[in-house]
């Protein structure tokens, strides 16, 4: 396998190169039955990926193995196991800086081990993709589904998207490369799913054929030149601002950080297009009772909404698909009739509840209730949702 086999029409593995629009919206699809890990393999297979670095941790290991198989089968350019997640994320940074479309996967303790890398990724404006299969954080030792780890990533300057199910993981992880690589965006993207609930659950999915794939990444259409000695050394500075104590150095650092956040904001129009909107709503459009959630909590909220409907109580579920950038305008619009907003979550701190409150502060009169909150691997049955509704509202079933 060699990159030299790539032509204008085909990538190195012989797949026909197509646009993201064609791959996501136009190509005929067939029904399959697979897990989140398996569907990720199918997505990466269709993305003309140059590089992937892996490290074992439950529940993402299988996805990482399957990307390795893609390398062995000639679809992914280079692949290896790194020494630990800190090393892996630095290796990913090296690959992406040198011009590779790069993907990696991790979970819980792996995310925290690698932490210093994520703001470094966004600061170097690399468009790599991390697939996060969320799991709990020690101690005590746990491998169960829990998305507390996402709260640590919120201010890293990386984009964060959240997929609800296997189908969304497929479509989102393809769109993620395209949006992250837009020259006016060009920041890393974290595509999150709830571990086990999505990674290990088999669902019906619609997939396009596997003989088509995304156009390759063009590292020369980037805000910073790739580190490959093919362009003038763009970082050649006469007077380095690093470690100088003067106003210019402060202003440089501050404006760079603002620019990273602005780049994340600039992804919104692209994400609206490729994701069909930053939020999706289901249920009664004008309901006073609204659930705002992401990931599999959305699925459970929809269960709750159906149960409530049986009791004659109207409700609506607002699924946030992008967390960074945060869909402020869409959330405000979707909750404009709300009297009660519930934020069901799979973690103890309620990071999404805090996000929702911050976003709606001064703009909504709704009572916001950050419940139910389950964690450590517990499930979120519809009964738990109904119980919170009845305890925190004056709504009563017919």
């Amino acid at each position: 396998m060699s990159i030299k086999n790539m032509t204008k029409e085909k990538n190195w593995s012989g797949q026909k190169l197509v646009s993201t629009d064609y791959l996501l919206f136009e190509a005929p699809r067939e029904k399959h039955f697979m897990t989140g890990s398996e569907v990720l393999k199918e997505a990466i297979k269709r993305c003309t990926v140059d590089a992937s670095v892996s490290y074992p941790i439950t529940p993402q290991s299988e996805a990482a193995h399957l990307i390795g198989e893609l390398w062995a089968e000639g679809y992914v350019g280079l692949y290896f196991r790194g020494e630990n997640e800190f090393g892996v994320m630095s290796e990913v940074q090296g690959c992406a800086m040198a011009g590779a479309r790069t993907v990696t996967t991790t979970s819980g303790p792996g995310t925290l081990r690698a932490m210093e890398n994520f703001p470094t990724w966004s600061g170097t404006r690399i468009p790599c993709q991390l697939i996060l299969m969320a799991r709990g954080i020690n101690s005590p030792l746990t491998i169960q589904p829990d998305n507390l780890e996402v709260s640590f990533l919120l201010e890293t300057g990386c984009m964060i998207w959240y997929a609800e199910n296997v189908q969304e993981l497929f479509d989102m992880s393809i769109a993620a490369f395209t949006v992250a690589e837009k020259p006016d965006v060009h920041v890393p993207i974290i595509t999150a799913v709830d571990g086990f609930f999505v990674s290990h659950t088999r669902e019906a999915v619609m997939l396009p054929a596997d003989d088509i794939a995304l156009e390759p990444y063009d590292p020369y259409a980037a805000p910073l030149p790739p580190i490959d000695s093919e362009m003038p050394p763009g970082r050649f500075l006469r007077d380095p601002f690093v470690m100088k104590s003067n106003y210019i150095s402060y202003a440089t650092h501050a404006s760079w950080q603002w620019e990273v956040r602005s780049a994340v904001e600039r992804s919104k129009p692209y994400a609206r297009h490729y994701l069909n909107g930053l939020v999706h709503t289901t249920g009664e459009e004008n309901a006073e009772l609204v659930f705002v959630a992401c990931g599999t909590a959305v699925h459970q909220a929809k269960e709750g909404q159906r149960e409530l409907a049986k009791l004659g109580i109207k409700s609506k579920v607002v699924k946030l698909r992008t967390i960074r950038p945060f869909p402020h305008a869409e959330l405000l619009e979707a909750t404009k009739n709300a009297k009660y907003i519930f934020v069901p979550e799979f973690n103890v701190v309620g990071w999404l509840d805090k996000e929702v409150r911050t976003s709606l502060y001064g703009k909504s009169d709704a009572k916001i209730v950050g419940r139910p909150r389950v964690a450590g691997g517990m499930s979120m049955p519809a009964e738990a949702i109904l119980k919170e509704v009845f305890e925190n509202t004056n709504l009563k079933g017919a």
């Binding site: 800190f86 590779a100 580190i227 000695s229 050649f236 470690m243």
Partner: protein, 289 residues
Amino acid sequence: MSVDIYKINPEFRDIMPQEIIDLEENATWAGESVEKRGINDLTDKKEILEEHSLCAGCPEAAALRYILAALPLPEETIIVNSTGCTSLMFPHIALHTVHSMFGNQNAVASGIKRTLDWRFPDKTKDVVVLAGDGATIDIGLDYTLQSFFRQEKITTICFDNEVYANTGGQESGSTPKGQVFKMAPKGKVFDKVPMWELAVTSGVAYSVKLTASAPKKVAKVLRESILIAREIGPTYIHLYTPCILEIGLAANEGLWEMKEQDKDRFDDFKYVSDEAADYLKKCKKEGLL
């Protein structure tokens, strides 16, 4: 690409700073010719390092100048750095360089090297790591050694000043036993870590310990190590560049200190694997050395 990336667009020539024009007109690039670059160029050619903000007389600065002057193929060389005194020189280097974090230099370099081999299968791209002793041997030890285990085709250079200089003179793993530094107010209790030996155990094809007292020797070791890294496997250079500030020497005393240590902690250590030795012979025949 080639030296072409240093050619100035004629439309902008009149607004270019002199040092950029000098890079085009008077720096020594390898280009298509086999004409050797070398430290003799330091006297009258434009250097790849512009100015720098290290302490006056800091041997790290001198050593970096020797290294840059001796690179066999600078226009295709990427240098990965780490946090420390050396990172104050990196923005002045007219090559593609990376500063990522403190200690992850060999991991970043691994990703870069593998990607360049994938993207440019017919080209020679040299990836060199240059970091301090704290970065290489303490906080980054894992990544340094793991890159050796994995046989990454990169050259790793440790500027050993036996101290965390940039943070104000703390004991490092490379500090000699007994030395009083910050964070070791009663003197260091364990021996200097023999990184050059660990490198051999970890699988490098070439490991050399020396001081920066003799520029020509530094240049020779650098060229050998880069050539071996291209073809055989990882190479390691352990270079003594004393922190004159922290050991209380004057700006003109660094050379004297290095000469002293040539006979002591930095007496010659050179390991060359059999395969690498054969390859060096071949390089000599072909005029690459």
